[in-house]
């Protein structure tokens, strides 16, 4: 593998400006308006509305059967919405055949034509457009150079490695200069190391060409690294649309909190509701939980408090804070190299997962099985979930 990742760029200045989706009156490039898709009795996509802006790399994230692939197939034109409509660059796509859409797709299986060479695969779309032969040759050459396969143009797909096939598929989808590129699990078939490399490559290409990407994935890590924004889907509905950081730190529901990363949930009752803070009494946690941001809830309402495993600190001594401090016994330790995972059982029987970075090599000596430990976290580290 030649490495393109050596030019791994830090976040570009553009990303630090106000993102386009937060700007007032920005014109969305792709508009999904109340789209529903039914297969017989089954509703695959349920009244989804979504705006995606130019140059975005939008990830549709969900488990299998969440409707994310169906939504993507509707954008490509392989399926027609049962109701609702899709606009690309202001043009209504209803009834527009797949071969007439300004959209190209990279398939999960790559769908390379096995009987055509790499160069012919890439040239396929341009030939259908009736582009002049010389221009086809030039554009195919440029595109293959970009994905670093310039020397392999005459090979057949069966003679390529998985990573090379993935890049041929990408080149084939990009060579037509689509306004919108759809990627179905683009990294799904690659091994872990190659995935990481390709992720950055994909982001570089997207920035370079300024194409709007819509990526479908079930892999939250992939979504987190790639996306400008993530749309989390469940049962055909988009449950949350946010930037990766916000989706992780401020999940809007228990589903999102549990789907993205792992999380500890404590059920509790609201005992103090101030405009900028909430205090919750949780039997499960065996402590009062204090959160320093306000939510819309009523006193005595049953809510869940979500705390990520890496936000919790572990100690032998009582830290002496009255809120957000639990105690329990270490049930299990999993050493995972860069971090260690602890499972602590509280007096209520509730199990809590905690991860600790392995700052020093002897953390395993400090905490061991059956140790009585205290768990505590900062007041801004947890989120209250009402749904």
């Amino acid at each position: 593998m030649t490495s393109a990742v050596t030019e791994m760029q830090p976040t570009t200045p553009a990303q630090q400006e106000i993102p386009v989706w937060k700007q007032e009156g920005a014109e969305p490039f792709l508009q999904i308006q109340g789209v529903t898709k039914k297969f017989g009795e089954f509703t695959a996509v349920d009244n989804v509305s979504l705006d995606i802006y130019k140059n975005e790399l939008f990830c549709l994230l969900g488990g299998s059967g969440s409707g994310k692939s169906t939504l993507l197939r509707m954008l490509a034109g392989f399926e027609n919405p049962t109701s609702g409509r899709i606009l690309i660059d202001g043009v209504d796509m209803s009834g527009v055949e797949p071969w007439k859409r300004p959209v190209n797709m990279m398939f999960q299986s790559y769908a390379l034509f096995p009987h055509l060479s790499v160069a012919d695969n890439v040239a396929f779309g341009l030939k259908r457009e009736g582009v002049a032969r010389a221009e086809i040759k030039q554009r195919v050459g440029e595109m293959l150079e970009m994905v670093q396969l310039g020397h392999l143009g005459r090979r057949k797909p069966s003679q390529l490695s998985g990573g090379q096939r993935q890049r041929v598929a990408l080149a084939r989808a990009l060579v037509k200069r689509p306004k919108l590129l759809l990627l179905d699990e683009p990294l799904g078939a690659l091994d872990k190391k190659l995935r990481e490399e390709t992720q950055f490559e994909l982001m570089n290409i997207q920035e370079e060409l300024g194409v709007t990407f819509v990526v479908v994935t079930h892999d939250q890590e992939e979504a987190m690294t790639l996306a400008t924004r993530i749309g989390v889907m469940n049962h055909g509905v988009i449950v949350q649309t946010d930037e990766p950081h916000d989706v992780y730190e401020y999940p809007s529901s228990r589903f999102v909190a549990e789907f993205i990363g792992s999380v500890n949930l404590f059920e509790g009752k609201v005992i103090e509701d101030k405009p900028d803070s909430v205090r919750i009494k949780s039997k499960e946690a065996g402590s009062t939980l204090f959160i320093n941001h306000g939510i819309s809830c009523s006193p005595d309402q049953i809510v869940h408090v979500a705390v990520r495993p890496e936000k919790i600190r572990l100690s032998h001594e009582n830290p002496g804070q009255s809120d957000n401090c639990l105690s329990g016994v270490i049930e299990d330790i999993a050493y995972m190299g860069s971090l260690s995972l602890f499972r602590v059982k509280l007096a209520s029987g509730k199990e809590v997962r905690i991860t600790q970075p392995n700052f020093d090599r002897r953390i395993g000596e400090r905490f061991t099985w059956d140790d009585k430990v205290f768990l505590h976290w900062d007041e801004e580290s947890s989120v209250v979930l009402t749904s």
Partner: protein, 326 residues
């Protein structure tokens, strides 16, 4: 996990290595080679006894001369002489082959056979492709039903089915009755004893041999390839010619060979459905054997047909093999 102490490579180790390797080779030879042989031997023996030996016998007869004897041809090897001085004579007669090349009748028969077989193979392909496509695209139960329908005719005797076509095609047969009854034609059409009937008979009879390989090729075709083609701006018709057709080519070749080869030598269909003028090599063979009782000539005709058929097939296979390895 636990580190092993480094192995001291010395003469002893090398010797042991050599012995183990030698043993491994021996073992490999004993197990794989005999097992393989046993598996291959059965079909090879079958082919040798029931194909190659008869072929040699026919080839031998083709080099003999006719004789009024039982069997009606001369022997190639003969003991000549008496007890003191005996030797073997070998008499090869190439006259039959020379006659084949000399007489235009045989050339006409070969060409006409190839033409009839070629046209009917093409027609079979045209009929079989949509059937195979539908089968490959339909879901489980429909697929099983269609497959059963394709195979079902085999349950009736082939001869019986050809006779049934005679009933359908004859002057006062089913088709003419319907056409007359509907007032489409005033006089019955002559369909039986024409080349048309021969084409129809071959297409009908050999359809399953075309459908099955096509089906197996089309079934393997990945539907997302067609979606990818559409996505890249190709209309369905274009996708068919650029994707579906090239990818089902192995099935097309296999099906065409399975139909073409037996069709060239077909005897029953032209005899029953064709006109007396329908010249096919199968009938020539029959006539040589049973009317002229010229076994050597008939054998030469058969050998020649084999050569005409086998050569192009070998060429096709050869070019395919090259393409795959390229």
């Amino acid at each position: 996990m636990s580190g092993k102490p480094p192995v001291q490579a010395g003469p002893t180790v090398a010797a042991v290595d050599a012995i183990t390797q030698g043993l491994a080779k021996y073992n490999f030879f004993r197990r794989v080679s005999w097992g393989r042989l046993a598996v291959i031997a059965v079909p090879m023996l079958w082919l040798a006894v029931f194909f190659f030996v008869p072929f040699l016998v026919v080839f031998k007869i083709s080099l003999a001369e006719t004789a009024i004897a039982i069997p009606p041809y001369t022997a190639l090897l003969e003991w000549v002489g008496d007890m003191e001085e005996a030797y073997v004579t070998l008499k090869l007669n190439l006259g039959n082959y020379l006659y084949l090349l000399d007489d235009v009748f045989y050339l006409d028969a070969y060409l006409s056979s190839i033409k009839i077989a070629g046209i009917s193979t093409f027609c079979t392909l045209l009929v079989a492709f949509p059937i195979a496509y539908l089968m490959a695209r339909s879901n489980g139960s429909t697929r099983a039903l269609l497959l059963a329908l394709v195979i079902l005719p085999f349950w009736t005797s082939f001869l019986l089915r050809v006779y049934a076509w005679m009933g359908i095609l004859k002057k006062n047969g089913l088709v003419n009755d319907i056409l007359m009854g509907l007032g489409i034609v005033d006089e019955p059409l002559t369909m039986l004893q024409t080349d048309f009937a021969v084409y129809l008979g071959i297409v009908y009879t050999y359809l399953p041999f075309m459908v099955l390989p096509l089906y197996s090729a089309l079934e393997k075709l990945d539907m997302t390839l067609l979606e990818a083609a559409e996505d890249l701006g190709s209309r369905p018709v274009t996708s068919f010619f650029l994707i579906t057709l090239p990818l089902s080519l192995p099935g097309i070749v296999a099906g065409c060979l399975l139909v073409f080869i037996p069709a060239v030598g077909e005897f029953v269909i032209p005899a029953l459905l064709g006109s007396p003028d329908t010249l096919m090599i199968g009938r020539v063979l029959w006539d040589e054997f049973f009317l002229n009782r010229d076994w050597p000539m008939a054998s030469a005709v058969a050998i020649m047909m084999l050569i005409i058929l086998v050569l192009p097939i070998m060429l096709i296979r050869n070019s395919q093999g090259k393409e795959e390895s390229a």
